[in-house]
């Protein structure tokens, strides 16, 4: 029983580390029609930024999360027009072009990280690292904080989407770019804003992931893969589906690992992923765009 509960908790917390990334990624697809292949690279850059922050100031990167958000927000805002340029207008294959352009960006980011920061595996330590709380089962503090942060950030983000004027504009854009534009929504500004928020959130998630795992140039791919998985399960572009989908993904991993054997985790993930797409391409809730 204890093992089962612990396994459930592990799963929930694994999902929790991914909620924020997937939420931004999903919205990015909804609004801009861009599948951002570089999502994992934002995570990687966030983790490295936290590492260098700790290296130079000695401070706890968790305390500087708003700073990282601002940094990545700015980066995303500046980069977005380039992505916009290849997906908008009369160009052929906009989805493919977006995917390919971000693939190129991801390659540049990966290669530069390897070139400038070398091949070593870096680690960061926060005040919660390695702590846990015993409540019959063991609750790892840092992961739990990450889970709370993820859910909180996603909910705030959704509140913003559904209750503010800008949020409404974003949703309108996601539904129909052209009509939204005709109705006076500044589609360009909205798109840039969405991408900036997404980059900021993902960079912040990178700080947490860096503290939980280890930091190196190639770490991004894992998060690109998992973000794809969660977003497809949630229904592409359907942000509220992201939290349950991420938890489902985490539980699938932990239950498979404990009760079937860890070697089957990869097969279970991609098997479910493929079947979901074939059976229910609009996601578990049928609300994907």
């Amino acid at each position: 029983m204890e093992l089962f509960l612990q396994t459930l908790l592990d799963g929930v917390l694994i999902g929790g580390t991914l909620v924020v990334i997937a939420a931004g990624f999903s919205l990015c697809f909804g609004v801009m029609d861009v599948i951002d292949f570089a999502v994992g690279e934002w995570v990687m850059l966030g983790a490295y930024t936290a590492f260098w922050f700790q290296e130079f100031t000695g401070g706890d990167p968790m305390a500087a999360l708003p700073l990282f958000f601002a940094l990545f927000f700015a980066g995303g805002y500046l980069l977005q027009p380039l992505i916009q340029r290849v997906t908008a207008g009369k160009r052929p294959h906009p989805v493919l072009m977006g995917l390919l352009f971000t693939f190129g960006l991801a390659t540049v980011a990966k290669g530069s990280a390897l070139y400038f920061w070398g091949f070593n595996f870096r680690s960061i330590r926060t005040w919660l690292s390695g702590q846990n709380v015993q409540i019959g089962i063991t609750v790892p503090s840092l992961r739990f904080a990450g889970f709370l942060f993820g859910v909180f950030a996603t909910l705030t983000f959704m509140a913003f989407l559904y209750w503010t004027r800008t949020g409404r504009a974003i949703r309108a854009t996601a539904q129909d770019r052209v009509t939204a534009g005709l109705l006076g929504v500044d589609v360009r500004r909205i798109s840039a804003l969405v991408y900036a928020v997404y980059a900021g959130l993902t960079g912040m998630a990178g700080v947490l992931i860096g503290a939980l795992f280890s930091i190196h140039a190639g770490m991004g791919l894992r998060y690109t893969t998992l973000a794809f998985f969660v977003v497809v399960l949630a229904g592409m572009g359907f942000v509220p589906g992201v939290i349950p989908a991420a938890l489902f993904m985490g539980l699938l991993q932990s239950l498979t690992a404990v009760y079937l054997g860890s070697r089957y985790v990869g097969l279970a993930l991609f098997g479910v992923f493929y079947l979901t797409l074939v059976v229910a391409p609009k996601g578990l809730f049928g609300r994907g765009s």
């Binding site: 612990q6 091949f119 390695g130 054997g261 860890s262 070697r263 985790v265």
Partner: protein
């Protein structure tokens, strides 16, 4: 219409590419040209750069002394690199380039086993001697490649040392062990070696898990914790090991001992885990504290560690030492046959024959390549040592007479440190 215009274009392109790639300049000075195939990019770039440091240190040291002394003259060595991009196809291409374009005299091999298995057929085809300073997979030696040698014993020869020590030298003796192995060739062999040696020593294996690299390890650790073993043995590289140990600490799982191979001897492991690296066991065939004596430029492990630290700012681990030793093995064999650069085919074959007969003592320990059996052309002169991290340092704790300091067992809980 327009689709037919590709012909002149493609021809032009081919010509342009051919011109741009042109022949590389040949160096006429009497130096030994040494090809280095290793992973400078791709997933294995960490290990690839580790071997590169070992090879570089050998070349720099030889050249600082004026070169290899043969027949009254000294011949410098020149390393020519080929990045294998962690891919077998590129490794084969790199070997082919070094041999046919750069005309290297011999080759220092890749970090990983897969790329080594792609390079070996190429060196076989061109009959060029090849020593790998790193690849530890038994698969390589079973193929009985005539031109391929290795200075590190196979992983199933190294990994069991710590299990043996724990089974015999600590009180109260542990009874159960759980093994986790990452799903790559090397780590799976290491995990299998842990399992086999534990069973031989009379320990009960309560869990044996193979995990894909890059997974989140918490559920696996949870499953292992539920089996409540005395020893947790991890077959992996340093990254996965660090993440698993972080997960174990987060989940409050402190077995009486944690054994790991390979990674606990790398500086990143100590730096990344800090105090949490304390008490972790591992194995090696070489540490700076060993009492080897050789008549190479380094002489002793301590001296090697000092030179290495000065050059790279970090202490060496056994992969680097073994890579340097690969260079030393070539050097000794060259001196024995008195060959001068460039080597012709007869001299290359003589070099292989000399390597087969080689029996030298170096700072790295004895180098002697097996000439038969499952470890054909692998260095069998070394014995494996059990290590433990104590007080931020790696110390030798066994097995038996190899002990310098007693192993600390059981490991205290994470919170009581």
């Amino acid at each position: 219409m327009k689709r037919r215009q590709w012909v002149p274009m493609a021809v032009g392109l081919l010509v342009a590419v051919g011109l741009a790639l042109g022949p590389t300049e040949a160096q006429q000075a009497p130096v030994f040209k040494v090809g280095v195939v290793t992973s400078l990019s791709g997933e294995m770039n960490f290990g690839g750069n580790v071997t590169k440091r070992g090879y570089d240190l050998w070349a720099d040291t030889v050249n600082a002394a004026g070169g290899i002394a043969i027949g009254g003259n000294r011949y410098k060595v020149q390393l020519v690199y080929g990045d294998d991009q962690s891919s077998p196809a590129t490794a084969a291409l790199a070997a082919e380039r070094l041999i046919t374009q750069e005309k290297v005299d011999f080759i220092l091999g890749p970090y990983a086993s897969g790329t080594t298995l792609a390079v070996a057929p190429i060196t076989e085809k061109y009959k060029v001697p090849h020593i790998t300073g790193s690849a530890e997979s038994p698969l390589i030696w079973k193929q009985k490649f005539k031109y391929t040698f290795g200075t590190i014993p196979a992983v199933n020869q190294i990994a069991p040392a710590s299990i043996k020590t724990l089974a015999k030298d600590v009180k109260p003796a542990p009874k159960t062990v759980a093994v986790i192995g990452i799903d790559d060739a090397f780590s799976k062999f290491a995990a299998q070696a842990f399992k086999d040696s534990a069973e031989q020593a009379g320990l009960k294996v309560v869990k044996f898990e193979i995990v894909p690299e890059g997974a989140d390890y918490t559920p696996t650790i949870t499953a292992v914790k539920a089996a409540n073993p005395d020893i947790l043995a991890i077959g992996s590289h340093e990254k996965a090991a660090m993440e698993m140990i972080k997960a174990a600490k987060e989940l409050g799982f402190a077995p009486k001992a944690i054994v790991q191979h390979y990674g606990m001897t790398t500086p990143d492991f100590l730096k990344g885990l800090g105090k949490d690296a304390e008490f972790i066991f591992g194995s090696s065939v070489w540490t700076a504290a060993l009492k080897h004596k050789g008549n190479d430029p380094f002489g002793t492990p301590a001296k090697y560690a000092e030179v290495f630290q000065k050059k790279y700012g970090t202490p060496p681990d056994y992969t680097e030492a073994a890579s340097t030793a690969a260079g030393l093995a070539f050097e000794a064999a060259l001196k024995q046959i008195g060959a001068t650069p460039p080597l012709d085919q007869k001299e290359k074959d003589a070099l292989v024959a000399a390597l087969e007969k080689l029996n030298i003592k170096t700072f790295y320990g004895p180098i002697k390549f097996a000439t038969e059996g499952d470890f054909y052309h692998d260095n069998v002169g070394l014995s494996s040592i059990a290590l433990q991290i104590q007080g931020g340092k790696i110390v030798e704790v066994g097995p038996g007479a190899l002990k310098v300091i007693s192993p600390k067992y059981p490991m205290p809980a994470w919170t009581k440190r």
